[in-house]
Symmetry: C2
Subunit: 346 residues, 2 copies
């Protein structure tokens, strides 16, 4: 009933605890004979080292902390999966926490993880996080910290991101390439940074193609929420305000799908009248009708990459090596689907 300890094994075999410990870890100064005796008994008693005792001695927990703003989200759950899978391969466990887009919670959770003595922390910031003291505290403790997707440029740690500005540029360019002249943008809130960058990418693409930038074509949902309804509302307004729009670049797929639905309801044809491109490549974008052209964000890869960077830094610190913070930018990909198919006008 109570877990087996080294001591019990030692007593049964009439040898010392030290020898048992060393036998199990294949120290060279234990004879083969006792090694096999010890290992056999350990297995038959189903011995499992007490991780607390181990970690107390060795100062490493083989555990990392992960903070995401929201668990129920296709992109983030893919990231989580990437992290968890990769961590397990390297013998690390992942403690997961959800900040619910709240800075206050995020701060508390960092504290929690620190007192849990995790070996490192992976984090994607809450939207309203603009103070970075809690993050700098982690760095000050010389504990590896890697940020992904929703990052703060000011914090001096490694980051794994996509190039939102470039991806948005590509998306907009695609609309232009297939003939759109009046392109609207349904943008995200003022924070996180990602929204801004996507907006800037959109604007740059217009200007680079000698299309006028018209700020009245940029829509932001009332509460900055990225919901299905936000897409519906913006689409309705857009059709009321601007009859001549022929393309929309939307900040995120869910909003794009809302817009798609509303346009359909209003009798506006996609892609015939208006072409739409989303962002993130949510699974559902491939199965709705018309299917949604979008930018693929490599969630799983981002999770893997973020963990591997963290792992490198954990090992480096263990070996007392210096490491410089790195920023890794992952490739995005334009996924062409029906919502931007060229409609022949004959």
């Amino acid at each position: 009933m109570k877990p087996v300890t080294l001591k019990q094994i030692a007593e049964q075999l009439n040898i010392s605890v030290a020898t048992v410990s060393k036998a199990l870890k294949d120290y060279p100064d234990v004879s083969i004979k006792t090694k096999t005796k010890v290992k056999d008994l350990a297995k038959s008693l189903n011995y499992k080292p007490n991780s607390f005792a181990v970690h107390l001695r060795t100062k490493e927990s083989k555990t990392i902390g992960l903070i995401v703003p929201e668990i129920v989200h296709h992109f983030f759950s893919n990231i989580i999966k990437g992290i968890v899978n990769e961590a397990e391969k390297k013998g690390y466990l992942v403690i997961i926490l959800q900040s619910n887009e709240s800075y206050e919670l995020e701060k508390k959770q960092i504290d929690l993880l620190l007192s849990q003595r995790v070996d490192g922390i992976l984090i994607s910031l809450a939207n309203n996080t603009s103070d970075y003291e809690h993050l700098n505290q982690v760095i000050a403790l010389n504990k590896p910290l890697v940020m992904f997707d929703k990052i703060a440029k000011m914090v001096s740690c490694s980051k794994v991101i996509i190039d939102d500005r470039k991806a948005a540029y590509d998306a907009t360019q695609h609309l232009i390439d297939i003939g759109c002249k009046r392109i609207a943008h349904f943008r995200g809130a003022l924070l996180p940074l990602n929204s801004i960058d996507r907006f800037l990418g959109y604007r740059k693409a217009l200007l680079d193609n000698n299309l006028p930038f018209d700020s009245s074509l940029v829509y932001m949902s009332e509460f900055g929420d990225m919901s299905f309804e936000a897409g519906q509302i913006s689409a309705k307004k857009l059709i009321e305000d601007h009859k001549d729009v022929d393309g929309i670049f939307v900040n995120t797929d869910l909003v794009a799908i809302g817009a798609l639905t509303e346009l359909k309801r209003l009798g506006v044809m996609v892609p015939e009248d208006i072409k739409i491109i989303g962002f993130s490549n949510w699974f559902m974008s491939s199965v709705i009708s018309p299917s949604l052209t979008t930018i693929d964000q490599p969630g799983y890869l981002m999770g893997e990459t973020a963990f591997n960077q963290l792992y490198k830094e954990i090992i480096a610190i263990k070996n007392k090596e210096e490491t410089a913070p790195q920023t890794i930018t992952l490739e995005t990909k334009l996924i062409k689907r029906e919502s931007t198919e060229i409609f022949s006008k004959n």
Copy 2:
């Protein structure tokens, strides 16, 4: 740089480690004066108890393990969210592991969690888990174990489930109520249990309504996978084989959406020609067109409930009370949408 310890605080204040420890935990045998001195210094040094030392002494880790077959899944990520949120409220951290629907991995992960000395384990089984030794091992160690959704009836532990048979019955009954006479079923694989129960609910509803059960109307995808493509393939076969079918009850939403798409491609109208009902209420079911009638599975609530049951058992064991395993059945709800709207024939 190195974390602050009780010893350092004690030395600075010229008192013993014991007193410091007691002061921080508000023991009655420490004077108010020293308590405030200790607490102030602890705060200014940003002292955080070393969790390993604490846990080594107290024998509880304030950590639980969670194993799910798949993280990237709307239903499961909702469950995860419910568990993580509820756990945090009670001061517990969650270590998350993904079995990838593999029994082998699941077994290893149970071992991992046990050696990590978690206070309890939450698990939803992999499809091919049919041996329960690893689970019984947990129970034998008197460590709380709660299974949810994909359970094994044979294992003597608490369970949180929905009544799949009844839910499937309700779904089928709904099709019957709105006039369907020839109802097909796209079922899941032979495991998990849930598929079987849904199939049985479907059959019972037919028989209770004096409709013949025709096994040729029951389709199972080749590899037992519940994918979009599986829905497309089954739909195609169905239309080839049975011209007279007017309703389909599908094992899960994603497959239903695949079927929906294929029917549309084949020129079969939903709901006019064939009515479809899914299962699980994936988010996308509400935004596709036609929107999909389905059975709502309360994922978040299931997560909350599962954690709370586990928590109860953790506390009970701590207090050396006996607890009998409980099975908690959560309510499902029929969500009526366009895919089963009644089509007036005039």
